[in-house]
Symmetry: C2
Amino acid sequence: MSLVKSDYEEVTISTKPIFNGKVISLQVDEVQLPNGQTATRELVKHPGAVAVIALVDDRMIFVDQFRKPLERMQVEIPAGKLDSGEEPLEAARRELEEETGYACESLSHVCSFYTSPGFADEILHIYVAEGLKQVGELKLDEDEFLDCLLLTFEDAQRLIQEQRISDSKTIFAVYAWQIYRLTGKWS
Amino acid sequence: MSLVKSDYEEVTISTKPIFNGKVISLQVDEVQLPNGQTATRELVKHPGAVAVIALVDDRMIFVDQFRKPLERMQVEIPAGKLDSGEEPLEAARRELEEETGYACESLSHVCSFYTSPGFADEILHIYVAEGLKQVGELKLDEDEFLDCLLLTFEDAQRLIQEQRISDSKTIFAVYAWQIYRLTGKWS
């Protein structure tokens, strides 16, 4: 196994800022390719996000919310963007409590992944929560509306079939749940 | 289990086009929220993509390429954007052959997921290939440079630990591979 580490690097020649929004920014870079030619790269910058796998007995906690890019409701594991300067672990604890009303005794890192490395730098950190306890009402952002659900593994698999679960982090969570059921380990 | 289907819809008031690129476009929508207030939504439009899980004996086919948004090399399963009007199944067959030099006898759909439903509509369709046969040289796009690798399951798990595999589709593929090793099924 040989992994080339640097021969394929694309060197930035220029960066053109296009948009600077509340959530994302966009720039177009001109790059020099390994063969000396040039190309453009459209790059979305994102602050990063967290998501939480949380089991209450044999059911997992999900939220059901409207997703404007898809123009429909989506069932997902609790998740949210990192606030400025916020540690992922703290963001995971905060999002879980705000979106579901559950606090947890501990959070363990399962994995982190780039959602779409072809055009975006968004990284999503996934944790598994243990020692769940319902502590209060939801505390949603002013533009956030959602329901909290507890689903069995079979419910979750059915919602994947029905495409009501259809995002990368939640499908990952259900696959990880299957491995946990088979092996007792989350990763 | 009760899933609200429409009470949380965000109604588009206006759409402002920001950027129309080679790969993505960006618009900012003003929406009316369920409580009557308004908010903005930053929306990236993407043509959709495909990725292929392909085993040759006990090794999976990966490609190692530079990812400009991450400014480093990444080991990923073969993947690519849909061409205009192209069926996902055909795109999967094309990308596998172009990026790896392998043809396959059949492709089965494993799952499709939205990579980042908070800000983008990109959907990724994942297939598993069977009957792999090396048929020729790579046929890469003019701005595409990569190496093809065959890795064992243990190699792939190690590359996840080393963060050389760190994107959603490839981590999903390695988790699905673990389930396949445990159950004989890909989904």
